[in-house]
């Protein structure tokens, strides 16, 4: 064991640093930028049953200390994604977290069944911030009932641990997390993007054709950190924290609030070396704050 090891639902990670879904592709681009094998793991882009072309452009807008995205889940579809994930083992020697998205319960089930079979997939993360097209089009993560039904369905076909990634855009995040725990998932990821809006100053019209989009980056950290803090008190399965991470201290904050591992999202896009930098800085920070093992601080805010 080294001082950065953590045990995430049975998977021992060299360190708790994991790039977040949608900000690291399938790992190939970053493998040309730095040695990605230093990472704890990688969450891959969300995969749906069929290839998706995504939303009309522009899909990106800038906000103060953050950004909006409305990518619309553009991805190659499960068939091609399985090959990409399988082949990743040639360049990334550790287990990955595969992310599954869908527009119906059956789709989540179908994709999870295929993806969880890939040997180098260690964990499956469910991106539950997708609209339920079979019902009201409202995102799965906003209703206990749909969270339970998807988590149960997926658990029945997966040989790998399941993490439910929840949306922060709800009244009480702990209720949704409890529902997921009740459906036997192995962990919770908190959280996906918030809902945001950017307007053109000149016209007052939305910058993006889809108008409302996912808000991420530095600015959201206090919100997602609060979600981790609240949920940790209520559940007894591991949490991955994500939102606004930029520096090593942010990792310590999320872990203090209760996360076992921490994902880095948008910052990868604008500061591609960020994960490497955090991994280099963490041992220094542990010494500075007199922390022996990083896992010792999980949940210490509550003690």
């Amino acid at each position: 064991m080294n001082s950065l090891n953590v045990n995430l639902a049975g998977l021992v990670l060299d360190n708790p640093i994991i790039p977040a879904s949608g900000t690291f592709g399938f790992g190939y681009e970053f493998s040309k930028i730095y040695n990605i094998n230093i990472l704890g793991s990688i969450v891959l882009k969300s995969v749906t049953k069929k290839k998706l072309f995504g939303n009309p452009t522009p899909r990106i807008a800038e906000c103060e200390n953050g950004m909006l995205n409305s990518i619309g889940l553009e991805n190659p579809g499960v068939k091609d994604a399985v090959k990409k994930i399988f082949n990743l083992k040639k360049i990334f020697k550790k287990k990955v977290v595969a992310s599954v998205a869908g527009f119906s319960k059956d789709e989540y089930k179908f994709v999870t069944e295929k993806i969880s079979k890939i040997p180098n997939v260690g964990i499956v993360e469910l991106n539950l911030s997708c609209p339920n097209v079979e019902e009201d089009g409202i995102n799965f993560s906003s209703k206990k009932r749909s969270v339970i039904s998807i988590c149960k369905a997926v658990k029945s076909v997966s040989s790998k641990p399941i993490f439910a990634k929840l949306s922060p855009n709800v009244t009480d995040i702990t209720e949704i997390a409890l529902a997921a725990q009740g459906a036997d998932v192995d962990g919770i990821t908190l959280c996906n993007t918030l809902l945001g809006l950017e307007l053109e100053s000149k016209t007052g019209k939305p910058v993006l054709p889809r108008k409302i989009a996912g808000f991420s980056g530095r600015a959201i950290k206090p919100i997602n950190l609060r979600c981790v803090y609240q949920v940790y008190k209520k559940i007894n399965i591991p949490i991955m924290g994500v939102g606004g991470v930029q520096v090593a201290e942010d990792i310590l904050d999320y872990m203090s609030a209760g996360a076992v591992a921490v994902q880095v999202g948008s910052e990868n896009l604008v500061n591609p070396m960020v994960c490497q930098k955090i991994i280099e800085d963490l041992p220094k920070k542990l010494r500075e704050y007199r922390i022996k093992n990083i896992s010792d601080i999980i949940g210490r805010s509550h003690r």
């Binding site: 681009e29 452009t57 800038e62 953050g66 604008v270 500061n271 591609p272 070396m273």
Partner: protein, 255 residues
């Protein structure tokens, strides 16, 4: 993709709202015409993508226009300021497609910039080289002389007509009045390279000749991981930052 710090050696206004910037640093790689850089500007979350106008030894030269707050801030930076830059981004123009052909370069507004680096690289290999530069109005015109200089070297054996650089303005305040497409239509050529506003690129594509265009799209990363910059092509979605920004004009589906 590479990341390095460059310092500003020059940041000079060359036309209305248009700046010429020399960035000195260590390149450690060969950059191609049509590629771009992505500049971090203090106080802004996203970087700003800007095309390469020229490379001189280890310096990158860019030309940018003040569009919003980020480029405004860039224009206020003075000599010596250090910038964090991602470079070696995008595919670049296919230089071999100019080989032994009668080539026309068509630039609109600040889109003229990457064509300069291109012109320098292909002038020796193409059969003939002509340039059409389009601007809104006289105060925005730049680089007419610079292109003339390159082309006069190329055309020194006098085997080509003389007016190889044509400037048009929409209001007729400089050069002839009209659009770049008006000129291109009447110019015999085998191949073109173009960069400029989308409406211009669409009009040029619609002329139906063989050529390449450099597209713009809003970007978050600029190196292929966020899927923010997709564009529709005959062969499915492609990323403007990685498979582009240069595309064969016949493959792009304009919406």
């Amino acid at each position: 993709m590479k990341q390095n710090f460059f310092h500003i050696a020059l940041n000079k206004k060359i036309a209305k709202n248009t700046f010429f910037m020399i960035l000195e640093g260590r390149l450690e790689c060969v950059l191609k015409p049509g590629q771009f850089i992505n500049i971090k500007i203090d106080g802004f979350f996203l970087r700003r993508p800007i095309s390469i106008c020229d490379i001189y030894r280890d310096s990158i030269i860019i030309i940018y226009k003040i569009f919003g707050q980020g480029t405004q801030k860039l224009s206020e930076f003075s000599k010596g300021k250090v910038l964090d830059i991602l470079y070696d981004l995008g595919n670049g123009f296919n230089l071999e497609n100019a080989y032994n052909k009668n080539v026309v370069l068509v630039g609109g507004g600040v889109g003229v910039s990457p064509l300069y680096f291109l012109a320098k690289n292909i002038e020796k290999n193409c059969k003939s080289l002509k340039v059409i530069l389009g601007f809104k109005t006289k105060s925005e015109v730049f680089f007419e002389k610079e292109f003339k200089k390159i082309l006069s070297i190329h055309n020194k054996d006098d085997s080509f007509e003389l007016n190889y650089v044509t400037v048009v303005t929409e209001d007729g305040s400089f050069g002839s009045k009209g659009l770049t497409t008006d000129v291109l239509k009447n110019l015999k050529h085998d191949y073109y390279f173009s960069c400029g506003p989308k409406t211009m690129l669409r009009a040029i594509s619609n002329l139906g000749k063989d050529g390449e265009i450099s597209l713009e799209e809003r970007m978050a990363c600029g190196f292929g991981v966020c899927m923010g910059c997709s564009c529709k092509t005959l062969y499915g979605n492609k990323r403007v930052c990685t498979e582009g920004p240069v595309f064969k004009s016949s493959e792009v589906i304009f919406e």
